[in-house]
Amino acid sequence: MKYLSVFTLLMLFVACGSKKEKENTEELLTETKVEVPNSNIPFPIYDFDGLEPLLKKEGDKTYIINFWATWCKPCIEEMPYFERTYQEQKASGVEMILVSLDMPSMWEKRLVPFVKKNDLKGEVVILDDPKMNDWIPKIDTDWQGGIPATLIYNKDRRTFYPHGFTYEELNNELNKFIN
């Protein structure tokens, strides 16, 4: 009975878009340890297939995609630069998506409070896909998986940065896209 409600809840999430899916229900019903996305997590939870469309949007905007996690010190250090840049450049057609790689056990305890406390304006999404060796090279062939890492793209250009940024560095790079 408990499993059934868990299952229903999950199905609801699956139905709400390209949220993380499980391949078969049997696995789901026997998997009691699975972290079930719930209403306490106000961000979309994607596997790589769910995230991928955000990495190749068309149109006139420029997208900053920052890969981070609350446990990653340098990510937290550079976050204010990203937030500030986003606020300043929003009017120039810049969108920012903050892809959290926090683990399921940290979503409620760390991620949600962090986003709230810092009043993050970028769009927070969760990437929860343990098949890292499959998806890391799809984001960039040279990326070894270290974070912070950032992708900036628009319809004309695309650059992946497997390192952190200062405010100046981020703006220098972003200006290549919006000017």
Binding site: K73, L101, M103, P130, M132, N133, I136, D142, W143, Y161
Partner: protein
Amino acid sequence: MKTLKSIGFALLLTVFSSFGVNDYPAATGYGIGDIAADFSLKNIDGEMVSLLDFNTAKGFLVIFTCNTCPYSVAYEDRIIALDAKYKSLGVPVIAINPNNPDIQPGDSFDAMRVRAKEKEFSFPYLLDDGQEVYPQYGAQRTPHVFLLEKNETGNMVRYIGAIDDNYQDASQVEDKYVEDAVDAMLSGTEIEVTLTKAIGCGIKA
């Protein structure tokens, strides 16, 4: 774009490894087939440890890991299991903490001793004091595994990457990269997957 990328990939790799990208350290360090340098690092028991000390070893699982990284913690039990399985077969685990304790106090030598005792580590847990070993290997994150095979020329790098393909749940693992590599190495067959990528904690330098 994609095609162009894959064609240019090998070329790009060469360029990046010689010039670096945007002044940030590029993916230098060892590649498959390179001979890894030995080291002499202090173990949690105070003794210095070198690969040379292991006379009868056929190889080593050199694993850069630490106390504080959530991924390292998630893999702790699996690292212990690797040592339990392969030490007796001649391939012991040598764990190295590459982080600078001044930046990451939770990875201090004392904290390492505490953690090793709590988890009853059966393998050396060494501090990369001065942080010279991890750049030489090209370790970029924790945990980061380097499988070495001892031969007449030295310790040859046979596999670099992740332990397996699911950090979250050991029971959901489909590909045990490290075990597959060690098994192939010990049986003298080709290692099918020699390089894998994973999200991990950047090393605190």
